[in-house]
């Protein structure tokens, strides 16, 4: 693809970053308040680690493929 074009990986990075931030924030709120959702294995705090993973992956792709980066 041409250099001037925004890469698909950038779009994916942005989306994962937003989703990761939202889900991680919810997970931290759950962790701090102890107000767990009514789901199985809620004590494993999946939103915290899954959200953090998505956030990190998203930031990596968003920065690595940001527009204008050579």
């Amino acid at each position: 693809m041409k250099e001037s074009e925004i890469s698909i990986w950038f779009f994916i990075g942005v989306l994962l970053t937003i989703y990761g931030a939202l889900i991680l924030s919810y997970g931290i709120w759950e962790l701090v308040t102890g107000n767990l959702a009514n789901v199985v294995l809620a004590r494993l705090h999946a939103p915290v680690w899954w959200g953090a993973l998505m956030l990190l992956l998203g930031l990596f792709y968003a920065l690595r493929f940001r527009p204008g980066k050579a």
Binding site: I8, F11, L15, I18, Y19, V40, L44, A46, M54
Partner: protein, 593 residues
């Protein structure tokens, strides 16, 4: 679409038909909170951003229909596998895994991997070198206008009809899972698809397919991870399945295939290997333009060959998020009183409205609801919506290309300017979506039609494979041979289907055994129609004159000079990765033998 067409049979009845019944008056499975709604809304905003951004890169026909042939092997490969990974497939095959066990993984392994590797390593050079814009376009170059028109009309007609069936089915899923109004789901999703494909063309469709692929893994991978944690790992899962279902074999792929009556699917290993593994799978993965179009958009021959090889690795991984949740559902899903929940067939659920029963096909949403808290549930639902939208985008982008290049250009307006064809492509996209909506409402009001539509689609796969393979590998095959082979092969498929429909006992001849079930019939019908096509091509060709070798350059094996590719390190070589894919494929089949 291959899987959608087959899922209905595996699941013991049409999912959408049964969902229609379920949708009426049934409480929804899940309730979305504000965070879940935000996750879905952000996805829609993102796809529209991509569509508007890519509009400026879809000005020429090459850009609009072929994404400028600029896709890397990774993007083309992910898009290739993603175009087939719709939400109905995910739900249907998870339900099949619950019902039939790990046998369902055949549709992801032997039913896909050999064909993908064959496309990449053997067939792709011919598709790519002859610079065709479509599979009917290849037939035109090889066998002339007649075969191309037959293939183009059947593809355009069926693609758009299947798009409508998918649209209706997805709206029903949204109704059952979330309680959403059917018209609301249809209008919102089709407006979004029409907008981003009409704006950005194939490039936009491909970008969204890659996005969807990531979303599906992000949204669905958590289910098997948490499910295995709850079940005590793979060992714990196996032990509980054996304990709970001592008379059923849910854990072996090949052991019960010695006879039709030894396995719940009613299939025989010859049907799986020759029917599914060859006729159906090769037909779909190597000649269905919906998937081949993604690879034709690659930026070089090496990328075009590498893309299906990359896709094969991801295809082999998909059972982890589809088949495994189905198996986990057997042991972890519980009723309110703590007893094991038993999912049942659609007919039983619809016969007992209000009894609180769930069907096999609801296993994936039930697992999502079981483990996913706010935000994560929205992500899972977004993955389902994204799967549907990218599948529909795949349908309409392929329809637009075939309509413009293989129907409109040769039959209506041969010598227009390039901009004219781009405009026709954009209008064809919008028209395709409108016809799909019409088809969706047609199916909604006459549900028996869906069964016929899905059967119709399967009629064209195997004969097309016969015509393309003979054209690609026989210098002797003639124009008349290709045309009559395709036509008579298709009529054979239709005839066998009608024969069994009129007289069910004919199954013993079509599928070789009275114990065979619907699935086996599909496989053997494909095998017969493929064989008839090949035989007719050769017989008719014997009475005609083959084209001179010089005319077959770029089209036929043995008459084509392939361009010399630059040497690359072994880890960038498609042969190296294809061999690794074969080893992994064999290992998986042996492990789960």
């Amino acid at each position: 679409m291959l899987e959608l067409a087959l899922t209905s049979h595996v699941a013991g009845g049409l999912i959408p038909q049964a969902l229609t019944m379920l949708a009426i008056g049934a409480p929804s499975l899940a309730h979305l909170g504000p965070l879940d709604i935000a996750v879905i809304a952000i996805y829609f905003a993102m796809v529209m951003w991509i569509g508007f951004y890519l509009k400026k890169r879809a000005n020429t026909s090459e850009e609009f229909f072929m994404a400028g042939r600029e896709m890397t092997a990774w993007i083309a490969g992910l898009s290739f596998v993603s175009a087939n990974l719709g939400s109905l497939e995910l739900m249907g095959w998870a339900g099949s895994a619950y019902q039939y066990g790990i046998l369902a993984a055949h549709w992801y392994w032997i039913g896909a991997v050999p064909a993908m590797l064959f496309l990449g390593i053997v067939m792709m050079p011919f598709y790519y070198v002859c610079k065709t814009h479509s599979v009917p376009g290849y037939l035109k170059l090889r066998f002339g206008q007649g075969s191309s028109i037959v293939a183009a009309f059947s593809f355009a007609f069926m693609t758009i009809l299947m798009s409508g069936v998918n649209m209706f089915s997805m709206a029903l899923v949204m109704k059952v899972v979330l309680g959403w109004d059917i018209t609301f789901s249809i209008v919102i999703s089709s407006l979004a698809v029409a907008a981003y494909v009409a704006l950005g063309g194939l490039r936009s469709a491909i970008f969204n397919e890659v996005l969807q692929f990531v979303l599906i893994w992000g949204g669905a991978l958590l289910v098997p991870i948490l499910g295995l944690t709850e079940a005590g790992g793979w060992t714990g899962l196996k032990a509980q399945i054996i304990r709970n279902f001592p008379t059923q074999d849910y854990l072996h792929m090949w052991r019960g295939l010695g006879h039709f009556s030894d396995n719940p699917m009613g299939v025989h290993w010859t049907g799986i290997v020759l029917g599914l593994g060859f006729a159906i799978s090769f037909g779909y993965w190597t000649t269905d333009f919906l998937v081949v179009q993604r690879v034709l958009a690659a930026n070089s021959l090496r990328s075009a060959r590498m893309a299906p090889v990359i896709g094969s690795f991801f295809k082999m991984a998909v059972p982890f998020i589809v088949i495994l949740p189905g198996l986990l559902g057997l042991v972890v899903l519980q009723n309110a009183d703590g007893s094991i929940m038993h999912l049942v067939g659609e007919d039983i659920v619809s016969a007992h409205p209000g009894a609180g029963m769930h069907s096999y096909n609801e296993v994936l949403p039930l697992m999502l609801v079981r483990y996913c808290s706010p935000g994560l549930l929205g992500l899972g639902i977004t993955a389902l919506i994204a799967g549907f939208m990218s599948g529909m985008a795949g349908n309409v982008s392929a329809f637009a290309a075939v309509w413009t290049y293989d129907i409109y250009q040769p039959l209506i307006n041969k010598n227009a300017r390039d901009e004219h064809y781009v405009a026709i492509g954009r209008w064809a996209t919008i028209l395709g979506v409108v016809i799909s909506i019409g088809a969706a409402y047609l199916v909604m009001n006459a549900k028996g039609i869906m069964d016929y539509v899905q059967a119709l689609f399967s009629f064209f796969i195997a004969p097309l494979l016969g015509a393309v393979l003979t054209g690609m590998f026989s210098k002797r095959a003639t124009k008349a041979g290709g045309f009559w082979g395709l036509l008579i092969g298709t009529l054979t498929s239709v005839g066998l289907w009608a024969w069994v429909k009129i007289d069910p006992t004919a199954l013993r001849y079509v599928a070789i055994s009275p114990d065979a079930k619907d699935m086996a019939e599909n496989m053997y019908r494909a095998l017969w129609s493929f064989s008839v096509t090949v035989i007719v091509v050769f017989v008719v060709s014997m009475f005609g004159h083959a084209r001179p070798l010089a005319e077959l350059n770029g089209l036929v094996y043995g008459a084509t000079k392939l361009p010399k590719e630059e040497p690359v390190p072994f880890y960038k070589n498609e042969w190296y990765w294809a061999v690794i894919a074969v080893v992994v494929f064999l290992a998986l089949n042996i492990i789960f033998w």
